[in-house]
């Protein structure tokens, strides 16, 4: 994808709590009109990083720049351009959903009450808007969290596990909403451990392990899309030998039932000809894609939630 205007940049961000390093040397960039996903197991430092981006947590070293402003020094008025829900949504339990947004709107200023009704409508909470927040289900709390981020019409939206607790219909709505927000020109910073969700909506992904960034790139780059070919033949040993004879074939891996090689998809026909010239006829020749789950497992050594 082509890079747009830079919205967020972290430069060598560190956070230490005594001897514990929560975040180590995180450098990343997020651009407008993209969905950037921040993946990592629990306790990997996602929330601490988000805290530093929002100016809530002071970096031990490095800095987080949002729209060019150092968030540890001058978080305001940049914060006005950010809508964020960190970890689970938190609101005043005795206030209704609408009054919670009203309290937030009063603090932010210049937000008409029509906008409150509008965002409640967007997230499908209009019917329960006057009920106390404490009576809301987890899914409704998530919806109110998303509504609160939209309230200020932000240029950067930070969502932490936004589909947590939502029913299938709600999950689908949120997954449709996230790319739509990016299409409107906003940058979306999505923290999630639901890999299929990330894979479905993200333009770029960063993977965090024990506070360190272990991978960063477009989803295609991380999954190796277009870089690998998957082959099958009746005689597998013959196939492997023939592939070894093709000088521009590299990265040969043998898996259960197929062979994978690091050859761009656009050279599939050429490879087929090279194999045929050696008397090897493949029964399958197709682009090979790694699932994000596999990449995540390899990089973090973590179990993945279904």
């Amino acid at each position: 994808m082509s890079e747009g205007r830079e919205v967020l940049r972290t430069e060598g961000l560190w956070k230490r709590y005594g001897r514990i390093t929560a975040v180590a040397d995180i450098s990343l960039q997020v651009f407008d009109a993209e969905v950037f996903s921040f993946l990592g197991p629990n306790g990997s430092g996602k929330s601490t990083t988000v805290g530093m981006i929002l100016g809530l947590v002071r970096p031990t070293r490095g800095r987080a720049l949002v729209f060019g402003a150092d968030m540890a020094v001058h978080p305001w008025p940049t914060l006005k351009r950010i809508g964020a829900v960190i970890e689970t949504p938190a609101f005043y339990p005795y206030l209704s959903g609408r009054d919670n947004l009203r309290a937030l709107a009063l603090a932010l200023g210049d937000i008409p009450s029509a906008r409150i009704d509008g965002v409640l409508e967007t997230v499908g909470l209009s019917d329960r808007a006057r009920d106390p927040y404490r009576t809301y289900s987890l899914g409704m709390k998530q919806r109110l969290g998303i509504a609160s981020t939209l309230l200020r019409d932000p240029d950067l939206i930070i969502l932490d596990e936004p589909t947590n607790g939502l029913d299938p219909a709600g999950t689908r709505e949120v997954r449709e909403l996230i790319p739509r927000l990016a299409q409107e020109g906003r940058a979306v910073f999505l923290c999630s451990h639901l890999l299929h969700e990330v894979e479905a909506v993200s333009d770029r992904v960063a993977i965090l392990k024990k506070g360190e960034l272990v991978a960063q790139g477009t989803v295609d780059e991380l999954l190796g899309r277009g870089r690998y070919l998957r082959l099958q033949a009746e005689d597998r040993s013959l196939l492997v030998r023939a592939l070894g004879n093709v000088p521009w074939v590299s990265g040969l891996e043998q898996h259960d039932g197929y062979v994978r090689v690091a050859v761009p998809a656009n050279k599939a026909a050429e490879l087929n000809r090279a194999l045929a010239s050696q008397g090897v006829y493949v029964s399958e020749l197709a682009p090979s894609e790694t699932e994000l789950e596999k990449v995540f497992l390899e990089l973090t050594g973590e179990e993945v939630e279904p």
Binding site: G51, L56, V57, W76, Y92, D99, A103, L104, G109
Partner: protein, 289 residues
């Protein structure tokens, strides 16, 4: 700042706790007036040396002493409610996790905390005026029904006294309110604020008594603490001795307490120190939950 105060006021106005403490305050004024009225009709003499009569007590409930008496109730009980309000305004944000929501919506942490403190102070003033208003109404009824309908005692000097009494009462409440506020901010919980405030309010007088008995250098220490100086300032409110809660002029003279200006200075320093600590900690500390 104005919009942050509007948001804080909106939240506190919608909160049940705010109304509960207001109702309790008003109820206490009514209850105490009712009890004292009843007592005044049942006793002939009372007090340590039987120096007061039932008639003295009844006259003390008339309109003339209504404001200082109501303010005395506020100083004794309202301070506790004010501490709960102040600690709750800060501490609850941590227990609900809303501290991050508001911190990202506010134009700076100092402004956020300042708006909370100002709104709490405003509500304490409103609550105090409400208690005084209820006291005036109840006292007016007592005065009129007992043939004391003359309002000739209302002179400019009398009005000035009442206003000064109000100011003194709010002034002595400030160290307790700011202590509860600061401790809630530092301890990130309502309980920390209320606990610290109530601890000082109730334990300090006991410790002071022991220190007074301990001779030098212990006996002078209470003069630098909050409670003894609070008593000095509140004694300036013209509450008739028959309905006075705290120590008398003689009690304070025996303990060689500070003069009024010194007492006020010490209380002001405590308030300023508590506010400074709260702001310093809140401004610098990470907001993680």
């Amino acid at each position: 700042m104005t919009r942050l105060m509007a948001a804080e006021f909106f939240k506190l106005r919608k909160r049940m706790m705010t109304w509960v403490v207001a109702i309790l305050m008003v109820g206490l004024v009514i209850l105490l007036y009712s009890i004292l009225w009843s007592v005044s009709g049942h006793v002939t003499t009372f007090g340590e040396n039987n120096q007061f009569t039932g008639q003295d007590l009844r006259r003390a409930l008339f309109l003339q002493a209504s404001v200082p008496f109501s303010l005395q109730v506020v100083a004794a009980f309202g301070t506790i409610f004010a501490m709960i309000l102040a600690a709750g305004a800060v501490g609850s944000e941590y227990s609900w996790g809303t501290v991050r929501l508001m911190a990202t919506a506010a134009s700076g942490r100092v402004r956020l905390l300042a708006s909370k403190l100002l709104v709490v102070c405003g509500l304490v003033v409103v609550g105090t005026l409400l208690a005084v208003a209820v006291g005036l109404i109840y006292s007016s009824i007592i005065t009129v029904t007992n043939g004391g309908s003359s309002l000739s005692f209302i002179t400019p000097g009398f009005v000035r006294d009442q206003v000064e009494s109000l100011g003194r009462t709010l002034f002595v409440m400030a160290p307790y309110v700011t202590l509860a506020f600061a401790m809630a901010a530092i301890g990130r919980s309502t309980l920390a604020g209320v606990g610290a405030g109530l601890g000082i309010a109730f334990i300090e007088p006991l410790i002071n008594g022991l220190m007074r008995l301990g001779g030098s250098p212990w006996k002078d220490i209470p003069n630098y603490l909050i409670n003894a100086n609070t008593d000095v300032v509140l004694l300036q409110n013209k509450v008739p001795d028959v309905i006075r809660f705290g120590p008398t002029t003689q009690d304070l003279a025996r303990n060689h307490v500070n003069g009024v200006p010194e007492a006020m200075l010490i209380l002001a320093l405590y308030s300023a120190a508590f506010i400074a600590v709260a702001f310093l900690v809140y401004r610098r500390r990470d907001i993680t939950a």
